[in-house]
Subunit: 338 residues, 2 copies
DNA sequence: TTGAAAGCGCTAACAA
DNA sequence: TTGTTAGCGCTTTCAA
């Protein structure tokens, strides 16, 4: 056998040998510990770059017990990745991880498979729909968790969410202030918090302002364009057609707009529409969509920061943050024609 | 001091103790080794679930030297995440990782910061724009790498890409077969392979079919809607206005369509448009966009599978795969008006 | 079928 | 300022 064995990865020992110091000293320069003589530091650095040494992170984690990575678990239902929502979360989390030098471990879940959260320092659950079990399981083994986009008050977990009720209120308030009295809503999926809260906030504001919300003016959608399409058709065929509609997502608002245009209904003159999300799609519709913008990116970023504090035990108490959405006015609304 | 110390994580030893076996036996059941008596196996399993034990993955990796995670590094330039391209890659990679039980470590890069690829089994580089150095560095320390969307023939690295030249040819072929003779192109960024190859394939096919491509019918865009907007304005103002245009991305095609409509040019009667990507935006334009679809999801999935083979030394030779795009016909093209 | 013990590559007392 | 050494939690010979 003259065969060579595969050359093994180079380790801290190889570096130590070449630099003629102990592995401890090498470890010290890796970790920027001050107590290393300039001479030794230089030699170690030379050896590191000559050998192209990169520390073995698994070994570091095992030795320190510290794991500087965060898991991001997202529900894997079809279409989620084509939603503006998911993209913004990934971007925000990614950005924050980058800034904090955290590894981002990305996990798409069906909600049922058990999750081994033991290889991450903490976990961010982007929404909890089907996967409450996974959150509980992570919590039970002591993994720091952060839930995004759910007011998870029933769960003894830290969370950060959008104030969806406020979002509904903002939409209602704007439409009312424009003078509308016959207002409709195409809701999101009401089994999601976002869907339910937007409707609730909207309703409440109408009530407070003494505007009637007729039952036939409430149409339950599910965020999909399909659902908005049929909702819009029914709404626009009403004998007493609403002069304004609040669609609980931009996709749905855009679809409603398309239906209206096909029907020859003039926007915003005959119909005002407000959406929710401020997705890029708004910008390229024929009529700029007025919408309620949610700080998704910021929410995701903030989630990472808080999780990081929790992991480092720098966070006091449960985090329960609620971020306000805000109105972006474009061209799709006006006062009703009298 | 009556204070309790934080309870430590439960380890294989705790399980062994409770099950009254050695840690070796516990390790065996974790790893599904056959040689464990049913009785012991049952006891270990009981202990594991009672204690909610989850193996420490860093320790496993250190002990085995095997790292079942793949890094995905994406360029971090602004806007990438709003591109259909990036999303499809993430989806495809995520899906394949899920199927192969690989951890996906997501890394957004500016292209300059050094990358420690030592904590992943292999790396997928989604496109290489600014970050050729990072690829070379990963390669030099022996990390298995896979480049996506670049025919990286100059780099001794495995890659998988789309046949962009074929994409250009397909678009040209379709337009020619419809009877067009005055055809224009709005190119992508020509400093990217995709941009350059699509143009080259397009040009070549026109030449082969003896169709003249006038210099003023070639307009260099950069995939952005802005660039397409000004390109379209110039193109449509030409004295001898083209009857067909191939825009090298759907976004650009859609923008060109918008400009045309504003100018009162009828699509497809007076102008045929073909795009590239088959992004979801196509479906919701007023006129369905005929486009060249690239198998991005499949490419990403395939990249993971190949990388996985490489890591496990089950791949013979360099992978150099090229996937064909295909034409999706919708409503934006017709024969030219004679 | 089982267990003792030697690492995997690194960090962190502790001693010098 | 430096080095020795004992782990971190797991896998894997090797013997029994």
């Amino acid at each position: 056998m003259t065969e060579e064995k595969a050359k093994k990865r180079i380790s801290i020992e190889d570096v130590a040998e070449r630099a003629k110091v102990s592995i401890t000293t090498v470890s010290r320069v890796i970790n920027n510990v001050a107590t290393v003589s300039p001479k030794n530091r230089a030699r170690v650095e030379e050896a590191i770059s000559a050998l192209k040494f990169k520390p073995n992170i698994s070994a570091q984690r095992l030795a320190t017990g510290v794991n500087n990575s965060v898991g991001l678990v997202m529900p894997g239902y079809p279409g989620i990745f084509h939603s503006f929502y998911a993209i913004e979360l990934i971007r925000g989390v990614g950005h924050a991880c980058e800034a904090l030098h955290l590894d981002l471990v990305f996990h798409i879940t069906n909600g049922f498979n058990p999750l081994n959260t033991n290889n991450v320092g903490g976990v961010i659950f982007a929404d909890i729909i089907e996967n409450r079990k996974q959150v509980e399981s992570a919590l039970s083994v002591g993994t720091p968790c952060m839930v995004i986009n759910n007011k998870a008050d029933d769960m003894d977990v830290d969370y950060i969410a959008i104030d969806n009720a406020l979002g509904g209120k903002i939409a209602a308030d704007y439409l009312i202030s424009l003078g509308h009295k016959n207002i409709a809503i195409i809701t999101g999926n009401l089994s999601t918090q976002a869907g339910a809260f937007r409707l609730a906030g909207f309703k409440k504001e109408l009530e407070a302002r003494k505007i009637q919300l007729a039952p036939e003016n409430i149409y339950e959608g599910d965020y999909s364009r399909r659902s908005a399409h049929s909702a819009a058709e029914k709404l626009f065929a009403l004998p007493n057609r609403p002069t304004a509609v609040f669609a609980c997502s931009d996709d749905m608002a855009l679809e409603a707009m398309t239906v209206a245009i096909e029907l020859g209904i003039k926007i915003p003159d005959e119909l005002s529409i407000v959406g929710f999300d401020d997705s890029p799609a708004c910008l390229y519709s024929s009529i700029g969509l007025t919408t309620v913008k949610q700080p998704l990116f910021e929410m995701a970023e903030q989630a990472v920061k808080i999780l990081h504090q929790i992991v480092n035990e720098k966070h006091k108490g449960r985090a329960k943050e609620i971020l306000p959405p805000k109105l972006i006015i474009r061209e799709s609304c006006s006062a009703p024609r009298s």
